[in-house]
Symmetry: C2
Subunit: 384 residues, 2 copies
């Protein structure tokens, strides 16, 4: 088994940057560069032949690879540009009625997901403060329950099992947004029994932008008929038939022409996650976020993210005074992380992060606070 620190060589940015922002844009694996070159080479040399030689199947073959990472069987996961699109397709499968038109969701949902449901006049949106509130709010009027596995702001893991159980008891469908968990927190969509799961590869999967994914529980995929559709969802797209006949499995949740260059770029990151395994990545993540918490405590920083393992995602948020300006100074020192208003500096190590890098970031924050090196950024930061 390759030691995790060996994988540092696969991520060129680590040569000059302390990259602790994998919860936002995961670092690029070196092989992604070869993959996009392969995309261009295929288009250049094969031209139209490329469709028959793999391109057309890619939303499904790449979807199957993501599926293996999140516990989905082959044929149940497909690729889309992003989660907004994936979730709009799910929504298009349902016709709200006055008796069942409630969407029960969490205040902490990612904005795309909020906006999508809030924009619909025929939906009654119920906003809950936490996962416990979601369970309480679900009733027989509930149509859909879109929740996040790990909340994007706080990094807190939600109690998915209880929500799924309650949703199913009430005859509602549950959509799990696993954007902040897939690749860093173990997830088994089959074991959880979720109806739909969505996510993307900008973050922990290190697959870059343009790669959203959609899992549909196989028995649901047999009977649902999305109205947001396209020729790729047809059983025989190249017959150009006048009427839709939906394809089998998750393929019926596709739209039009696939997103080939993004799909090439994405798989290098998934290959590494598959090689290492999410359980091993999670063990290392818990060990390293424990270390971050220890270091933050020792430095006297506040901590604004969950301390319990069961609730902790891949990030740790540490709070110091004037943290936006401190964050700016960190960036100038080639230490990349981000911050969330009202919370603090968000640090997201991944399997290729060294413990020394974690000691380095905490020491640098302490040094920036002590020396007042952040002061020169106060004005610039306030302008945002």
């Amino acid at each position: 088994m390759r030691p995790l620190l060996d994988y540092r060589a696969d991520f060129p940015i680590l040569e000059h940057t302390t990259y602790l922002i994998n919860h936002s844009l995961g670092a690029m694996p070196r092989a992604a560069e070869e993959r996009v070159a392969e995309y261009a080479r295929t288009w250049r040399e094969r031209g139209i032949r490329a469709w028959g030689e793999g391109w057309w199947e890619m939303p499904r073959t790449v979807g199957d690879q993501v599926g293996r990472i999140v516990g989905a069987p082959a044929g149940s996961t497909v690729m889309h540009q992003n989660v907004a699109i994936a979730e709009a397709i799910v929504l298009s499968c349902f016709q709200p009625t006055p008796a069942r038109n409630r969407v029960v969701y969490e205040r902490g949902n990612f904005p795309s997901v909020r906006y999508l449901y809030q924009a619909r006049a025929d939906l009654d949106v119920v906003v809950c403060e936490d996962d416990g509130g979601i369970v309480d709010a679900i009733d027989e009027r509930t149509l859909l329950v879109p929740i996040s596995h790990v909340l994007f702001k706080s990094g807190e893991i939600q109690d998915v099992e209880r929500i799924v159980r309650r949703a199913h008891d009430a005859g509602a469908h549950m959509i799990l947004d696993a954007y902040q968990s897939a690749g860093i927190v173990p997830l088994d969509v089959t074991a959880l029994g979720v109806d739909f799961a969505v996510g993307g590869s900008v973050k922990w999967l290190c697959g870059g932008p343009g790669n959203g994914w959609l899992y549909v529980r196989p028995d649901l995929a047999e009977r649902l008929e999305p109205t947001f559709t396209g020729w790729q969802a047809h059983e025989q797209p190249f017959a150009f038939e006048e009427e839709m006949r939906y394809a089998e499995g998750a393929a019926r949740f596709l739209t039009g022409t696939p997103n080939v260059p993004a799909l090439y770029a994405g798989t290098a990151g998934y290959d590494l996650i598959e090689e290492i395994g999410v359980e091993r990545i999670r063990a290392n993540s818990l060990r390293q976020t424990d270390l971050l918490l220890e270091l933050a405590d020792a430095a006297g920083f506040g901590v604004a993210s969950p301390r319990e393992h069961a609730r902790r995602g891949g990030t740790v948020t540490v709070h110091v005074d004037e943290f936006p300006a401190v964050h700016r100074e960190l960036a100038e020192r080639q230490i990349l992380c981000d911050f969330r208003p009202g919370a603090g500096i968000r640090i997201g190590p991944h399997y290729f992060t060294s413990d020394d890098e974690l000691r380095h970031v905490v020491a640098q924050i302490a040094e920036i606070v002590e020396t007042g090196a952040y002061v020169r950024h106060l004005g610039a930061v306030a302008r945002h």
Copy 2:
């Protein structure tokens, strides 16, 4: 001014293939390869900084470039994965009522567009045989008129002006699918006064898959509110606000995270179209399709595409007996084109095609027919 045949050096596939299928997958410009390498280099070296250094704006900056090609002002065109998505966003701006729920469209629309409207129980779809029929069918019950500028099967140009005028008289909105015209047939969405236009770059724009585009007439963009939306459509996406406040212009028709690698790959083709100009490309296209018609007539082939310039798109369809098998033999001889059931072999030269290549393809078809070289493919073709 660079002679058109000089551009052959920009398309590597021409070195070994007679590439006459630009109506399906446009040949790759050499520079696309550098662009995708630049994508990887940016992700690799800049990491998260890339969003602020251009990535986030790309759906709009690349959209503006396509806009220049189709006569759209800056800020009115944005990029999406494909036309099904672009058109679903347009549809989500409207709430059909029993008094206005008709969608008047042509039998020849591309399947994605058909399926999208047919799937909706709240729409009354009226299918017309041709553009004259569309004009006749539009009335005060008509909500949307999605038509194609150039029909994908026959390559026939539609009378867009009359349809726009009739649609507007009746209070309906018109969506022009310019997938088969942008880059080969002059198009000015502003002069035509269309409400929406959509297209993609798989074909004549030579931008490859993953790049659909959506133009929204500027005055409409100020007041429409798509319900199929996402955080990219927000005026301040990075404020992560709880309520949607739509951005200005076509930006409000965006969804979630943009499709960065596809956008990098696409621009090489658009650069060349902008450099040459669509008027010049069209003049050459008419000259070359005239030549193809002459050659086909001389060889005694049937012709199944319009002969009048005003109705002729970028392709010519020639009919010979057993054309699917003839097409297969052409492919084995490294001559790429395609065929349409019931019509014939579809030939799509672009500005980098030489007249000799056109003489070559017609001579080869004649030779294949005369020698019976197609006979060995008859069984294989019939299996499809």
